[in-house]
Each structure stands twice: as C-alpha cells, then as structure tokens.
C-alpha cells in the first residue's frame, strides 16, 4: 500500500511538466517618478501550471567590478498574475560612470524573468531589453497636492486682488483681537509693562513667524501708547527678528526714539529654563498684559497659570492643538489655530490683508464641499464595495493623497 502511494506520487511529479516560459517581458521606466525605478511586465502563458515568477536584473558595471561572478541579481519572486500590472523595481543603483554627470539616472538595465512550476521546476529565463530609469521633472503622485496648493493660493490671491480693486470686505469681530488695544491701554494706565512671549520654537516654525508678525502689531500699539513692551525669547534668531520687528513698529508709529533694544533679550534655548525665567519675571515685574503668540508645548500652562495669579489680561494664540485646552482654560482670550494665523492680517486693518482672510474662507468652503463629496462617495461605496462608486471613491481619495 505504502509503496503504491510512493509510486503514484513519483509518477505525478514526472507528469507535471515544466511550465512554459514567460512571454512579452518588458522593462519600462516608471513615468512621473523620482527616478531609479523600472516596471517589469510579462505574460505567463499557463497560469495554472505556474506557481510563481522569479525576476532578476542585470548587474551594473560598478557591481560587476566588485564581483564578476554575479552578472544577475535576484530582485523578487512574485505571483504568476503580477505581470499584467507589472512589478515596480525601485531603488536601482545610480549611474556612477561619467564622473557623476549621470547621477540622476541609472545605466541601461535588463531584466530576466522565469516561470516556476507547481513542483518548483524553473523554466528558461526570458530577457527584456535594457532600459534606463530616469528622473521625471514632475512627481506625478503629488499632482493632487499641486492642485490643492494652486486652489488654496488662488482663493487667497483672488480675494487680495478683489479687495484691492475696492470690493468691500466685511469680517466678523474676534473678541481676542478686539481686546489687544484694551489690554495694552490698561497696562499703560497702570504703569506696568506688556509681556510678549513668541513661543519656544525657532524661526523655521511658521508659528514663530506668525507670532513675530503679531508682535509687529502689538509693538506698534505699545509704541503709540508709550507702554513698555518686554519680549524674552528662547532662540537667538527669534531675538534678532523680534528686535527688527519692534524697531520697525516704533518707526511706523513715528516714535523711533522710544525703542529700547534692551527689552528684547535671549534667555535660553531650554524650554523649561526659559519658562522658569519668564514665570519668575512675571511674579516680580507683574506685567498687566501677557501675550503668548507662537508654538508652545508643556510650558503653556505654567505661563498662563502664573499670568492668572498676577491678574494680568492674557491673550494667547497658538496652532499647537495639544496646548489649546490649557490656554483656553487659563487665559482670558485664546486665538485658536487659524484665528492665530489671521491675527496679524486682522490687526493690520489693511484692505488686501483683510481680503486674504476672505480668501481663506473661500478655501475652507471648497474644503468643506470636497469633504462632503468624499463622504457621499464613501457612503455609496460602502453599499457596493465592487461597484463604480467604490472605484470613484478610491481614486478620489488617492488623488487627494489618501
């Protein structure tokens, strides 16, 4: 009985012939990519008899120089039906010949493909033509991003131009920004200083940049009111930028003589060292108004609670979502996220800047419409996972980078 079984097994393996070799083996440069990737396509004549497909690529000249015994390098072993869509081979070595002049492409690289039968027997390799993988000038998968950038910018620019052309721009009031003048005025009346904290990040954080533009507006009002404005900074470049900005504000207010460089100082880059200094100064100098405008992390609550304890009017603005709860809980007014970025434009009162805020609204409206469309598509897709709605939903989301 056992012998019979063995024999029949041996017979089957003898009968299962080697699968037919792959045909139509092509290597194609992937369009719209960052280079160094080729797509290998092939056809497997007998899917049933083929277990998998082995793909190898020719070694480059540099690789051959290192090891002449390895003219072919195994790239992947894939399913038999993967050849229809093709197999993307990325990270191919760059062309090191010609002294780096061809560094943004590969040498011409050939591929060879072999089918492997159910029992593991491999058919003969079929070679493709050798192809160069080139960098393309535009990264195709960022097309959706490019469209979004253009739409967002166009919304803002359109409204800047409309506002310049005289189109009326009406905006709602933002309590936190209405309170800025009042807070500085109160500090002036009380003969106390105004404290401005531009966050703890450097100038390569857009929140710090936004904070500095708000500082420009606050400094101008402070200069007009002749209030003392104190700006401790936690970065050297922020100190330089703050000094430029505050000086500019004093010139703009027509009072360049009241600008005091000594009120804008570097303390330390260390988050908690900086906050130890600022909270210390707060309880000693008792500023009547505290502004926190920029990127904040755990120190937000240390600042805001101490400001509260000394009875200062506190206006905060940040786009750090994790710190918003603490500012909201402990400050009189908080500019939440986008409101913070709008603050400088708002306070400027200039037509084109106010127009740009209207442009932001247009961009938000477009975003909302796109989200609703996406939700509806996804809902239809949920009911028919194989239908056209599902495909539409998928391509819509992947176009947008999902």
């Amino acid at each position: 009985m056992m012998k019979l079984l063995m024999m029949s097994l041996a017979l089957t393996s003898m009968c299962s012939a080697m699968p037919p070799s792959a045909t139509d083996v092509f290597a194609i440069d992937e369009p719209g990519d960052a280079g160094f990737a080729l797509r290998v396509t092939f056809t497997v004549p007998d899917l049933a008899a083929t277990k998998e497909v082995r793909i190898e690529r020719a070694a480059t000249k540099a690789e051959l120089a290192k090891d002449a015994n390895m003219p072919w390098i195994v790239v992947a072993t894939v399913d038999a039906n993967a050849g229809i869509e093709g197999v993307l081979v990325a990270d191919l070595p760059k062309d090191e010949s010609n002294d780096g002049a061809n560094a943004n492409q590969t040498e011409a690289i050939a591929f060879r493909v072999a089918t492997v039968g159910i029992d593991g027997e491999q058919a003969a390799f079929v070679e493709s033509a050798a192809v160069i993988a080139k960098m393309n000038p535009f990264i195709m998968k960022r097309l959706g991003l490019a469209v979004s950038v253009v739409v967002t910018c166009a919304s803002v620019i359109t409204w800047i131009l409309l506002a310049r052309a005289g189109r009326p721009v009406k905006l709602r009031r933002i309590a936190a920004l209405d309170a800025v003048d009042e807070a500085i005025g109160r500090a002036t009346e009380m003969g106390r200083s105004v404290l401005f904290v531009p966050g703890i990040q450097d100038m390569n954080d857009i929140q710090t940049v936004a904070g500095i533009t708000v500082l420009g507006r606050v400094a101008r009002t402070a200069a007009e009111y002749d209030a003392t404005l104190v700006v401790p900074t936690s970065r050297s470049i922020v100190m330089s930028s703050a000094r430029e900005t505050v000086q500019a504000a004093h010139f703009a207010a027509g009072r360049p003589e009241t600008y005091k460089e000594g009120n804008i100082n570097y303390i330390t880059d260390e988050q908690f060292g900086y906050v130890a200094y600022v909270t210390g100064q707060m309880v000693r100098e008792k500023p009547a108004a505290c502004f926190y405008m920029g990127a904040f992390y755990a120190e937000s609550l240390l600042l805001a609670e101490n400001g509260n304890a000394i009875g200062a009017i506190q206006i905060a603005g940040t786009a750090e979502p994790s710190q918003l709860p603490f500012f909201v809980a402990a400050c009189d007014y908080t500019l939440i996220g986008e409101e913070f970025f709008a603050a400088s434009a708002y306070l400027s009162g200039e037509r084109d800047q106010l127009g740009s805020l209207k442009g932001q609204d247009l961009a938000k409206a477009i975003t909302a419409v796109v989200i609703i469309m996406g939700c509806l598509l996804a809902t239809f897709a949920a009911f028919a996972p194989e239908g056209i709605a599902a495909r539409a939903s998928d391509s819509f989301q992947s176009f947008l980078g999902g």
Partner: protein, 233 residues
Amino acid sequence: MLKRTIPILILATSGAILVVAYFSPFTTNWSEVVLMWFNILAAVAYVLGAGNLLAVNLEKVSSRRAGWAYALITLVAFASMLTFGLFKIGGVPSEAHPDVPYAGDYESTQSAFGWVYEYMLSPLTATMFALLAFYVASAAFRAFRAKNLESILLLGTAFIILLAQTAAGMFLTGWIPADSVFAFLRFDSLRIAITEYIQTAGMRAITIGIAIGIAATSLRLILGVDRSYLSKQ
C-alpha cells in the same frame, strides 16, 4: 532699496522657489539643504544669544543692580558649562580613536559636562515639568468656577476622561451591564465615544483650519502683502 526692496525680494524668491521645488525629484531635497543651512545659521546665531546673555548679566553685576548676585550665578553657571563642554573636561577618550584629542563623547557621565547635566540641568527641567501637576489642578479649579456652558463642557469632559482612565471610573459605572441599552453611559464607552468621534473631529477641523491659515500666512509673506517684520525706514 537695500533695507526694504532686497529683503522683500529675498523672501519672495526663496519662498516661491521652495514651493515649486517640492514637486520635482531634482529639487525635492532642497528642503533638507535649507534645513541644514538653518541649523548652521542657528548655531552661528548663538554668538548673538550668548553675547546678549553675557551683556545683560554683566551689566547687572557691574552696576550692582537689584538681584546682581543671581546674575553672577547665571554667569558662572554659563561660563563653566561652556568651558566644560567645549574642552570636554574630564571626558574619556573615544575607544576607537584614543589618539584623537576631542573625539570622546561630550555628554559622557564621567565628564564635568555630563555631571552638570545629570545633577543640575536634568533635575531642574524635570521639576519644572512636574510643577504642571499643580497648575493643571488650579486651572481645572478655575474652569470649575466659571459657570457657562463652554466651561462646563470642557471640564465635564476632562472629568469623564480622567475618571475613565482610573479605577474610579470602573467603580462608578462598571455595574451597568455592557450589553444593556445604557451601556453607552459607562465611563469607558463614553471615553471611546468622546475621543474617537468628537475629539478626532474637533482636532481634524482645527488642523484643517491651521493648514489654510499657514498657507495664507505664508502667501501674505511671500507676496509681500504682510511686511510687518520690515522697517519703513
């Protein structure tokens, strides 16, 4: 011209170039180059920061202004730490290269720099951080006293989330059967509902707003619409 037009041009060109550069494989790594430049620039700018720190504190000490002794402490701490780190005082040589004079690790615990980090800087920053436990309590207390709907929502949610993380949450609502109609009232289910649906939605909208705000702020700067950083002189 030099003080106004050129900076506006520098800002506009550098900004516009980086926007476009992101979309081409030839230039997409420019952002990394710019980041490296920024880091070097920030490191060079430390001269300004250090100069300012020295100037302010030296002035306080030499004019015997109130609190000059503390300024002196800052100066001594600053100068010693700078010397320790720059010359790697007390540090051990690198095991792979004992013949290269400054190859050792500047932060090794045996060095003076490492000692100051371990026993001064690290406990000081950790304690400042730990103070937050008290401030969180006082902030919650104040929100509790402000009696409007917004603060009730904020504090009530914080309370539920906090309890749901502790044994108290289980103790208070654990008796509600998990498969009953009222199961949603259990603190753990409430927590999931709040964080998964409401908090996620809130954060998403905030983030979307922020992105549009960033884009518009950047655009105002690049287009030269917002020149608040520039002197009119």
